[in-house]
Symmetry: C2
Subunit: 401 residues, 2 copies
């Protein structure tokens, strides 16, 4: 292990995405993340495309971790997790409020075992309030936080969801940040603490700076729907789709030249930034028509020469061959003895002294049972007995898919 969080041990009791993706970021940064799973395993193990019994979705949220799978409802299972908690710097859980206490791993219990632990509770809605007991699905948060409102269809007035799980993933990144901040504070003061993070709060804070800021001035609010990214900046070309933006005067002039429409430079409707904003629909129509007459490659080259920000709209397949993504090494291919060639994004932030990296692919269920228990002082015989008694669980590579 290396990375900025080298030496940190995290007990990860989370499932699905918001928790696992948070601890994966920390694992890529060098933390020893031990994923505690029930004998059935994280639900994500069972969804999405599979290779040798490993789910791509699970792998993409749980790489660089170790797995300990055991029945926490059995006293021997709970005892093992408690022993492990005594060795951990951080414990993260995203059960519904109240569940972790009923499992016998509430903050009080754990802090007695490890007084300076950073205890982290991720929830959908918060600990109290009308929704707090509800199961959380990402779209429910999109509905409540204003994101579906941001996406309202202008023509029909119907709110719409973003078709990827923005609240889950944003909460993951925010949780990783908060955990790291608490570790920093502990390094200064020696004290751990409890971090509580709700997806709903995360999303309101995330949307606010741009999408909700017009509600800042109490008593003189303006409608957040006005002035937001309204017209879609995607243009259809003769052979695909591109995006291009001409905000400044010089960018607009460059766009006119790139499209062989120098005549528009004289057009009063587009003479200033203010006029262009006012006449956006007309401008979009004219520019769109010109775009449709040329192939993407030609327009992009012309816009580029004129210093107008532009890019092709890439499908996700096309990401794999994009020259910028290749130059950045954004997507890596890992060669695994069992799984073969596996694509993963590298950790986005590059640390020049303590590089973060994909430390390992994701573990099969219970892959590290024996190693972790041995580290805790369990003998081989004891581990064997726990396994026979069905306290420990695990699976391995499947051959059929």
């Amino acid at each position: 292990m290396n990375g900025p969080l080298n030496g940190v041990r995290i007990l990860d009791l989370t499932t699905m995405v918001s928790g696992p993706m948070a601890t994966m970021m920390l694992a890529d940064q060098g933390a020893d993340v031990i994923k505690i799973e029930s004998p059935r395993g994280d639900h994500m193990r069972h969804v999405g495309s599979m290779r040798k019994g490993m789910s791509a979705s699970f792998l993409s949220c749980n790489r660089s971790k170790r797995s300990l799978a055991l029945d926490i409802k059995r006293p021997e299972g709970l005892a093992a997790v408690r022993k492990l908690a005594a060795t951990a710097d951080v414990l993260v859980q995203n059960f519904r409020p109240g569940a972790i206490e009923r499992m016998g791993l509430g903050e009080d219990v754990v802090r007695e075992l490890r007084p300076d632990i950073v205890f982290v509770s991720i929830s959908g809605f918060g600990e109290t309030g009308p929704y707090s007991g509800q199961r959380v699905y990402d779209p429910v948060i999109q509905a409540l936080c204003g994101l579906a409102d941001v996406q309202t269809d202008h023509a029909t007035g119907q709110p719409r969801m973003v078709r990827t799980i923005i609240p889950d993933k944003t909460t993951a990144v925010a949780a990783a940040q908060a955990i790291t901040a608490a570790l920093y504070a502990r390094a200064q003061t020696g004290e751990g603490q409890h971090i509580r993070l709700a997806m709903l709060d995360t999303m309101v804070a995330y949307l606010w700076p741009e999408a909700i800021s017009s509600l800042t001035w109490v008593g003189s609010e303006s409608d957040p729907a006005e002035g937001q990214m309204g017209l879609d900046l995607v243009y259809r070309t003769a052979d695909g789709y591109i995006t291009a933006g001409a905000v400044s005067d010089s960018e607009w002039q460059g766009m006119c030249r790139a499209l062989d429409r120098e005549d528009l430079l004289e057009d009063e409707r587009f003479a200033t930034a203010g006029a262009r904003a006012k006449n956006r629909p007309a401008r979009r129509d004219i520019v769109g028509e010109e775009m449709e007459r040329r192939p993407s490659g030609e327009i992009l080259a012309r816009l580029d020469r004129e210093d107008v920000p532009c890019a092709p709209v890439l499908t996700r397949w096309q990401l794999l061959d994009d020259a910028q993504i290749a130059a950045n090494g954004t997507i890596e291919i890992h060669e695994d003895d069992l799984l073969g060639k596996v694509r993963q994004p590298r950790p986005a932030a590059r640390f020049d002294r303590t590089p973060a990296s994909v430390q390992a692919l994701a573990p099969y269920l219970g892959a590290d049972n024996a190693a972790i228990l041995a580290e805790l002082g369990y003998s081989e015989a004891e581990i064997g007995r726990l396994s026979e008694d069905g306290v420990l669980a695990g699976d391995g590579p499947a051959t059929d898919c």
Copy 2:
């Protein structure tokens, strides 16, 4: 100041959103963030709704900071920033690659002044590669990273943008996490480092775990567009819009009862999770029709009684009065002598020992010039001279807007 990052000093040379929102999170967590601005100030000061010359957008990306506004192109201005750099734990900049070196504040120069500094470079595309020199606009990243592809309109095949700046804001949270991790590493080793973070890389890593993970298996990829959140989960009711999701058997049964459609429990098309997934369009039509016949409040209460996850789709105005958001204290009202009542979201993560909070509203341009220079040892006379010579700049409250 309090918060987990108490005692950390951050020199913030960033503008717009991705950098400023990152350092704002750290400022809310107790870091002393000094925003260095040109005499004209961050562009965000000039956009969006205003009160007394303060922009709501600027305030919402720059609260809890101090402002030092000076002409860095003048030797005396540069000298002051270098003196300040010698006192800083972190320097963050998001200029285009190469610019910070031309300004005389490249890593080599700064590290000589402060050997253990965490130096942070946020870019749109990375330091090299075909797009690296381009000005970055959020939609360009949405186009390149696959987000516009995720949003493709099924009917027309046209990619679409999300109408809020997801790449800017996600990069902000990821940058805040990376900076905090480097501070943690420095607390362990005494060494600073250089963090480089590209918006494009951030977004590929962010989208991957769910929206791109089907490209994980090299040689047996499946189309990422299949199996993603397809049908929009927003239902129109008699008087508004709600979301509701029935994934498990018990949730589906609950939904049938809530809609007085027990007959559907016998319907083979919906008998299992697999069948329901296959017959999603038909299911959506039937459920949608029932929803339209009832007001939101009635349906939500019925779904809630049946333990079916559901919520109203809130407009951003409605966030202000929502009972869950009120219970969480997600949105705070700050009373300011000058600006009056000001709404801001509280920092999402709640730390029970070192609480993060809105430490102050955002500063006017150069509001802290004198205080910061005095801390560096400048005399009152020297500060006066720099001000007279036009090296320092500043403004204050406007009376007209």
